[in-house]
């Protein structure tokens, strides 16, 4: 009795909502909730509304999307999937395999996405040859941020090799500055780790290890060296790093308490919000070594009922990849556009550097997905690696043990 009453009420709600024929509707599940991020999403919502659509916002923050994924799973199982969901990396293909994603090839082909997106990024947006997701931006993960004054007063230049970095760090430590601002959370440990790994293994080695999960590479001496460098880095971190939020670490760099931070380009937003100027107050550079680790945010469309929602998905996909949104959004978010034909005039020097590096990497094959941010591997495998990385970094485990555990954890993750 009660149930049918509820059902009736929600049916009525649905009917009244869809009374106007096929007005684009979208309920969007995402985890961009903080000020700058929210402003970026608001841009999209505005464009969506301008094109006659109704945007229903469903933000779920926390744990780098964990909470959102919890909600998503429950929604999909209850047969009530959101229209569009912030999803990225192989998770898109995983969801596709569960048979719940919608095909947006018609939009992609009409808009010519294949021509404007770098091939490796486009690859993430395809499932079995058809388009199933729309990319929003490209975050670079392998950034090293520095306090300009601190480096200058200690006579240090931005390091270009890990040895240089180590030497600089020791010098800074001797001068009483914390060399590396770091927050001891598993994903931050993994972020530093992959930057180090990219530098030491090189682009090819990185691909072998963290995309192909090649056992030989995972257990190689080079990998031992990566862990050795991590152990060294551990010495450059202050004693109170555990559990620290990344933005507090950024604040340490800003205040001159610490010199460097290795973090994706969202850290730039913190500097900017505090009124710091890139190139003057703070410096940005890629971490030592060649290559470019990208973290591409994208939206996947879920299989839904109703013409209005399908219309919403198509409109949304079109807008997301549209040049105007790509520009405005990324200006707000600190990342760079996913499509390569957007004018970068309004972007800051760090973003320009990022765009140039992406171009170059794309050409020489060193444009690589970030493992730490879920671009390279499925959740179970990347999680297994992170477990070992963070366990090693936060204990006195030897590098040899770590490598052995790494291989085992990866094997146990299927």
């Amino acid at each position: 009795m009660k149930r049918s009453a509820f059902a009736a009420v929600s049916t009525i709600a649905l009917i009244s909502a869809s009374a106007v024929v096929a007005e684009p509707q979208a309920e969007v599940l995402h985890w961009w909730t903080s000020g700058g991020e929210a402003k970026s999403v608001a841009v999209l919502q505005q464009e969506f509304a301008d094109n006659g659509g109704t945007w229903t916002d469903m933000p779920v923050a926390g744990g780098g999307g964990d909470a959102a994924m919890t909600a998503l799973r429950a929604r999909v199982l209850s047969g009530n999937a959101p229209t569009a969901v912030q999803l990225k990396g192989p998770a898109i293909q995983e969801w596709y395999e569960e048979g719940v994603l919608a095909d947006i090839s018609s939009v992609a082909e009409a808009e010519g996405w294949a021509d404007v997106l770098p091939a490796s990024i486009a690859g993430h947006m395809k499932c079995d040859g058809s388009w199933c997701a729309a990319p929003v931006n490209v975050h670079r993960v392998d950034w090293i941020w520095a306090n300009a004054d601190v480096l200058e007063s200690n006579g240090i230049a931005m390091p270009t090799t890990w040895d240089e970095f180590n030497a600089a760090a020791e010098k800074l430590a001797a001068a009483g500055v914390i060399p590396l601002a770091h927050g001891g959370q598993a994903w931050q440990d993994a972020t530093v780790f992959e930057a180090v790994a990219l530098g030491i293994l090189g682009a090819e080695g990185f691909h072998k290890a963290f995309v192909e999960l090649d056992e030989a590479t995972l257990t190689s001496d080079a990998m031992v060296a990566v862990f050795d460098q991590m152990r060294t880095m551990r010495g450059f971190v202050d004693a109170n790093f555990s559990g620290r939020d990344w933005n507090l670490a950024t604040a340490m760099v800003m205040n001159g308490e610490a010199a460097f931070q290795i973090m994706g380009d969202w850290a730039k937003g913190e500097f900017m919000a505090a009124g710091k100027v890139p190139g003057e107050d703070f410096l940005c550079a890629s971490t030592p070594g060649d290559g470019f680790l990208y973290n591409v945010d994208s939206f996947a469309m879920f299989e839904v009922d109703g013409e209005d929602k399908k219309a919403g998905q198509e409109l949304l996909a079109e807008l997301i990849v549209g040049p105007s949104f790509q520009e405005v959004f990324n200006l707000n978010k600190g990342s760079i556009p996913a499509r390569t034909d957007v004018s970068l005039d309004a972007f800051d020097s760090c973003a320009l550097l990022s765009a140039a590096d992406m171009q170059a990497s794309s050409e020489n094959g060193s444009l690589l997905p970030s493992y730490a941010h879920g671009m390279a591997l499925r959740g179970a495998q990347s999680g297994a690696i992170t477990d070992v990385v963070t366990a090693h970094f936060n204990s006195d485990m030897s590098s040899a043990d770590a490598v052995a555990q790494l291989a085992q954890a990866v094997a146990n993750s299927y």
């Binding site: 799973r73 995983e94 598993a186 004693a239 477990d387 963070t390 204990s395 555990q405 146990n412």
Partner: protein, 291 residues
């Protein structure tokens, strides 16, 4: 007809709850058991693959840590919360003038979720920001309180916060117990010249045995389910040093898309719960049918 209704009305009133519990507790446990035998990834699948998930589970060092932590955390948390709760209750029972205020102060953490207090706790425990820094600021340069950043001690900070949250409730239970102890027994003991502390240890506390049991059950249930506490305070870190089975399970199910693995860990958790709760239920029901 009306007589039949009258005789069966109590059962009919209980029936919906019973059916709900059967479906939503036992049905779901059964579902979890099933899924734990599959290779479910992002979403549940239903083809049985044997005990592979359990093999993976027991091969995982992180799960080892989580189970170890559960026992360390569970034991410490339950014991400390009980002892502290009892102590506070006894102190508050000494005709304290401001009892109402103090009691509320002790009790209020129960009202807050860890989402609310997590950040504050993180700062307080962080050596560079919180207690350590403050005490050093007072001039005690060698004061050290850095458990939260030490993998070997971080689990104790979880205990600290968990005790903070729950000991007030335990205190309330014990205070209620103290207030319902038969006053004549105590008068008799006082007439006999038994010192106050002996009255407590020999007469009052033993008479509160059922309350100890209730408190134990409530605390055990909190310990096993502790989840947001860890997430808010340490996120399982440093490394995964403060992982608990509940957080392990959550990580597997929702951030790793490894539902089969999560289901197998849930089943092991359930076994632990079972081992604790069943003896309690047994004693509970026996005592009640005697009476």
């Amino acid at each position: 007809m009306s007589e039949w209704l009258e005789n069966h009305l109590p059962k009919m009133v209980l029936a919906p709850s019973f059916i709900a519990v059967l479906v939503f507790v036992y049905g779901f446990i059964g579902w979890t058991a099933w899924v734990s035998l599959t290779r479910s990834k992002l979403l549940p699948r239903y083809e049985i693959h044997g005990f592979i998930q359990y093999d993976r589970l027991f091969a995982s060092p992180r799960w080892d840590t989580a189970m170890n932590n559960l026992f360390i955390f569970g034991a410490l948390f339950i014991v400390i919360a009980m002892v502290l709760g009892l102590l506070l209750a006894i102190m508050l029972d000494q005709k304290i003038r401001t009892e109402g205020v103090i009691r509320t102060i002790y009790l209020y953490p129960m009202a807050l979720s860890m989402i609310v207090t997590g950040t504050a706790w993180k700062w307080i425990l962080n050596p560079g920001l919180g207690i350590e820094a403050t005490v050093r600021g007072w001039g005690f340069e060698n004061f050290s309180f850095d458990w939260v950043v030490n993998p070997d001690f971080a689990i104790y900070t979880i205990v600290l916060a968990a005790v903070w949250q729950s000991s007030g409730f335990v205190m309330a239970l014990f205070l209620a117990g103290l207030r319902s102890v038969d006053g004549e027994i105590i008068k008799a003991a006082q007439v006999d010249g038994i010192p106050t502390w002996r009255i407590y240890t020999a007469i009052i506390i033993p008479s509160m045995a059922p309350i100890f049991l209730s408190a134990f059950i409530v605390l055990a249930h909190l310990a096993i389910k502790s989840f947001d506490l860890v997430i808010a305070l340490t996120g399982g870190g440093p490394g995964y040093a403060t992982d608990l089975p509940a957080t392990y399970m959550y990580a597997m199910a929702f951030s790793r898309g490894d539902i089969g693995q999560a289901a197998s860990s849930a089943m092991i958790m359930m076994l632990v719960v079972f081992a604790i709760v069943v003896p309690y239920l047994y004693s509970e029901l026996r005592a009640k049918t005697d009476g």
